[in-house]
């Protein structure tokens, strides 16, 4: 059953991380998860599976595209790529996120007010 604390940090965060990762290089699902976990130093406790609904949403919005290919380990995998629309979306989301973060940081910063 769903437990609320296992959800994303905030809505859209997972999608943003996926897009950012894919901007660097096209990846298949498993590699994508491992990459996000690794780069976050395992600080983000995400369920591996939760990636897939997010990927489907991105596919549907045409922000990423996917095709079957053979991986380095000789597996048939589905490789996800960022589309131009995805790149634009990422840019917008990141700048929005930074603004939000700035706001939150200011509020949380001690002593200034």
């Amino acid at each position: 059953m769903k437990k609320p604390e296992q959800r994303d940090l905030f809505p859209g965060a997972l999608e943003m991380m996926i897009l950012r990762t894919l901007k660097r290089q096209p990846l298949h699902g498993y590699a994508l998860v491992q990459h996000i976990k690794r780069t976050s130093n395992d600080l983000l406790q995400i369920e591996e599976g939760s990636l897939y609904p997010a990927l489907q949403r991105l596919l549907k919005e045409d922000l990423v595209k996917a095709e079957w290919a053979i991986s380095a380990t000789n597996r048939r995998v589905r490789i996800y790529k960022l589309t131009p629309a995805g790149a634009k979306h990422l840019q917008r989301e990141v700048s929005r996120f930074e603004k939000m973060l700035e706001g939150i940081t200011r509020v949380l910063a001690p002593g200034e007010s």
Partner: protein, 898 residues
């Protein structure tokens, strides 16, 4: 999103799903291999991979739902699932669909008839401006033609007024393709313009059509146009015959327009003045006044359109002042049959936006009572179904618990259970619609008087459809909600551990209450139905004073010829001779049946100048009529060839009339004076030649009526415009009827002949009683069926809940019979309480139908006993089945769940 990609998604969804599953599978395999590489066993690695991945089903479902129109798709799969479950339980499905169908069907049938009679707006322009004008304080809406003309010409209260003949509405419509009975009306020239109805083909009637001597034209209903002429446009100008008179078609009315009476369907509209041209009414005793000008022929209804901004009460205030002034210019009404002159009076206006319906006025109480009963029955049907579904849901507890544990959301399950109820409702509603269609016809028939059947335009419109849809939805919610929420409120661990649980006692009390109500209602209805059936039996067992078996009646419409009224009588004699010579005809007579509305005044002079007056029902007959009817002539003789138009006026009295007029004296040879009451003041001295046995001409329950028979030959030619033949037949009635028609055609091809068995007259006379008995019996059996379902549901629920208790009892030495007695006994105690209430309610209910009971006591033990017996039988069967299943419980199986 672009439409193209959206449609592409819709069609490639299957592939998308397959991709997704394959991808997730790959993901897991890769993870497992990686974990094995770190030194885990395959088994541990698989578990770990699954754990880290999360809820596989849920994630796949979530991923898919991105692509879906989720509610719709799961809705379809829910429907498929529901249909599958129902197919597995055909008994349950049949009971559910049937009881719902009957409940919904009865409710819609009754509502649709009420809607058509009283709630539907007339399909005319601004119907809320229309008012009907009644004769003030007379409880009658009839007016004479003279009153109409002065009122039309001198009123200035309404923007427009019209009149139509509401009284004579049945016509024989004939053209080259054959003939049929239709309803129609003579209407004033401003009929259509007042209503704001225009023709869909040709033109409507105009004032110029309604002038003395105008060409006789008519407008057809859309339906008649379609049925007889296939909506062909060349009907315009076509000549047709109405009651033998020629009319030419000038137009067709709109599709939904059938006149202003909501309980009638008018198919043909003719100008009022056409009656003068054709002298369409039979006249008695040689009165040659066209009935249009008879000041006592109150056959017209007035309808008016209010001026803009004028209210009904303002119009009424105006009428009170104006109308007496206008009517003062008319000559006073002559004396009526009761001997006093009736004033013209004034007019009252009533709103008639929804049309007029005498049937509704006469049956409002009954219809509302029926509506209430149907609604109660429907609610009970829903409660029963809810109960059955709850009992089933109890059996499905572990299924539901398992699905909850596997990650299904509660809302998802509720939606699924609700879909099951909705599927049942829709199936029930479809059945209900068929039943409703049939039921509304039956109701229409039951509300009709024989010989004057009510014909309503029962076609559906958007409002009726909306009513049906909301009833269906309300049912689904009513019986679906409780089980859906109840069944999904499960504590997972307890549900998965025990199959059987014990019910809450409070719950059981409510259910017993439900059974008591249903049983009581059934018993009360069954008692009433029994009384009505017994009344019908008693009525039919009455000797009507004649023997209708093997007798045909033939209603003859002679094309009345105002130039030569004598011709009618000659044709009548020719027809009689032709009929008598046919093979298979043992005797035949003709005449005019007793007028059931108008009495003639008879006066007997006693000794010393005293007078005894009485009213009698007058009929005319030829010779042999008593032999044909097998009514005995008690004393004296039958009419014969010596009774002619020039011989002494003679009469045969019924025994009752002889008693009233002459007491115990044998009246043969005595005389009385007769006055036809229509106002010319002439008396006829009539000699009695015979006394015949009493016969029933109305209802068998009536006291014998005073009947006066005169010979056909003495009724003065034109009185027989519409005559009747009675033919006693040896052999097949239908074949003889064909021969009669052929014989009539050889006498005069214009003659219209309508044959039916005389026994119809007897059965028509008890029509109301039969209709009430039928409706009450059907309804009470339906409610009885509901009670059966109710008892069955409650008993099987109780048995299921108490499986463990039964197991314990049996383990402690109770045998099967004890268990059976326990379950059935408990239920029958509840049923008996219901029966007791039902008998009391039934006795109270007989007050409501007292007017319809005859020849049987309201406390008739047979009816009450039958109701109780039937109820016990129904309840017994319903309790027996689940109890038998329960007593076969293997104690070991029952206890293993502990």
């Amino acid at each position: 999103m672009k439409i193209t990609s959206w449609t592409k998604q819709l069609f490639s969804r299957r592939r998308l799903y397959d991709d997704l599953s394959a991808e997730i599978q790959q993901h897991l395999e890769e993870k497992i291999e990686e974990l094995i590489a770190t030194g885990m066993s395959r088994r541990d690695a698989t578990h770990a991979a699954r754990r880290q991945f999360g809820n596989l089903t849920l994630i796949e479902q979530d991923s898919r739902s991105v692509w879906q129109w989720p509610t719709l798709e799961s809705f379809f799969s829910d429907i498929r699932y529901a249909l599958r479950t129902l197919r597995k339980n055909p008994g349950f499905a049949a009971v559910a669909v049937l009881s719902l169908g009957l409940g919904i069907g009865a409710t819609i049938a009754i509502f649709s008839v009420i809607y058509v009679m009283a709630l539907r707006k007339l399909p005319v322009e601004r119907p809320e401006e229309l008012v009907e004008l009644d004769r003030a304080g007379m409880g009658s809406n009839g007016h004479s033609y003279g009153e109409w003309k002065v009122f039309r010409d001198r009123q200035d209260i309404f923007s427009s007024v019209m009149a139509y003949n509401y009284f004579d509405a049945r016509f024989v419509f004939a053209d080259s393709n054959g003939q049929e009975d239709v309803y129609g009306a003579y209407v004033s020239g401003d009929y259509f313009s007042t209503l704001g109805v225009s023709a869909v083909l040709g033109r409507v009637l105009q004032s110029s059509d309604d002038q003395p001597g105008a060409r006789t034209v008519c407008v057809l209903s859309h339906r008649l146009w379609r049925q007889r002429y296939g909506e062909s446009t060349d009907v315009l100008g076509r000549a047709i015959r109405v009651n033998g008179h020629e009319f030419s078609i000038v137009g067709v009315a709109p599709e939904s327009f059938f006149g202003v009476e909501s309980d009638g369907v008018l198919e043909i509209f003719m100008p009022l003045e056409a009656q003068r041209t054709y002298r369409d009414y039979p006249m008695l005793y040689g009165h040659r006044t066209p009935s249009l000008d008879n000041p006592l022929a109150w056959k017209l209804s007035f309808v008016a359109r209010l001026k803009r901004g004028v209210s009904v009460s303002q119009a009424n205030a105006g009428l009170q002042v104006l109308v007496p002034e206008i009517f003062k210019t008319l000559p006073p009404n002559p004396n009526g049959s009761r001997g006093q002159s009736v004033p013209h009076g004034s007019l009252d206006a009533y709103s008639m936006a929804n049309g007029m319906s005498t049937t509704w006025l006469q049956s409002t109480d009954v219809m509302l009572l029926l509506m209430a009963m149907a609604a109660v029955a429907l609610i009970i049907a829903c409660a029963n179904l809810g109960n059955l579904l709850l009992a089933r849901a109890a059996k499905r507890r572990s299924e539901i618990a398992t699905r909850l544990a596997l990650g299904a959301t509660r809302w998802r399950l509720i939606r699924q259970l609700l879909t099951e109820s909705a599927v049942l409702s829709v199936a029930g509603a479809s059945t209900g619609l068929i039943i409703a269609r049939w039921g509304s016809q039956v109701l229409q028939w039951a509300l009709s008087y024989p010989n004057d059947p009510i014909l309503m335009d029962l076609s559906w419109d958007a409002k009726l459809a909306a009513f049906a849809a909301s009833i269906t939805l309300a049912c689904a919610l009513l019986f679906g909600l409780a089980p859906a929420f109840g069944a999904t409120q499960i504590s997972l661990s307890s549900a998965m551990n025990n199959g059987a649980t014990t019910g809450k006692p409070g719950n059981r009390f409510t259910k017993s209450g439900l059974v008591v109500v249903q049983v009581a209602l059934s018993v009360a209805l069954l008692t009433s139905a029994g009384l009505l059936v017994r009344t019908l039996q008693a009525l039919l067992a009455q000797d009507p004073g004649y023997d209708p078996k093997g007798v045909l009646t033939a209603r003859v419409i002679l094309p009345g010829d105002s130039e030569k009224p004598e011709r009618d009588a000659i044709i009548g004699e020719e027809l009689l001779a032709a009929f008598r010579s046919l093979p298979g005809v043992t005797s035949a007579s003709w005449g005019r049946t007793f007028s059931k509305t108008a009495l003639v005044q008879l006066v007997v002079s006693g000794p010393g100048g005293s007078e005894r007056r009485t009213g009698a029902y007058l009929g005319f007959s030829s010779s042999d009529s008593f032999r044909t009817w097998r009514t005995p002539i008690l004393t004296g003789r039958d009419f014969n060839d010596t009774d002619t138009s020039t011989s002494v006026p003679v009469a045969i009295l019924s025994a009752e009339l002889a008693r009233v007029l002459f007491g115990k004296v044998n009246p043969v040879g005595l005389t009385f004076r007769e006055n036809d009451g229509d106002g010319d003041g002439r008396d006829y001295v009539v000699q009695v030649v015979g006394v015949a046995g009493d016969i029933q001409i109305r209802r068998p329950s009536d006291a014998p009526l005073p009947l006066l028979r005169r010979p056909v030959a003495q009724c003065g030619g034109s009185c027989l415009g519409i005559g009747n033949f009675e033919i006693r037949v040896a052999g097949s009635l239908s074949e003889t009827a064909k021969r009669l028609e052929a014989a009539a055609a050889t006498v005069d091809p214009r003659v219209v002949l309508k044959c039916e068995p005389l026994s119809n007259m007897l059965s028509d006379s008890v029509h109301r009683n039969r209709a009430m008995a039928l409706v009450a019996t059907t309804f009470s059996l339906f409610v009885g069926l509901l009670a059966m379902i109710g008892v069955y549901g409650v008993t099987s629920h109780a048995a299921a809940e108490r499986t463990r208790e039964i197991g314990v009892r049996m383990a402690l030495g109770a045998n099967q019979a004890d268990v059976f007695r326990m379950l059935v006994g408990e239920m029958m105690r509840v049923v008996c309480i219901g029966i007791a209430f039902g008998v009391a309610a039934g006795l109270a209910a007989t007050r409501l139908i007292r007017g319809s009971i005859w020849g049987v006591k309201p406390t008739d033990p047979l009816s009450i006993g039958f109701a109780i017996g039937l109820m016990l039988l129904i309840a017994g069967i319903a309790a027996f089945l689940p109890a038998r299943r329960a007593m076969r419980v293997d104690p070991m199986v029952a206890l293993r769940y502990e």
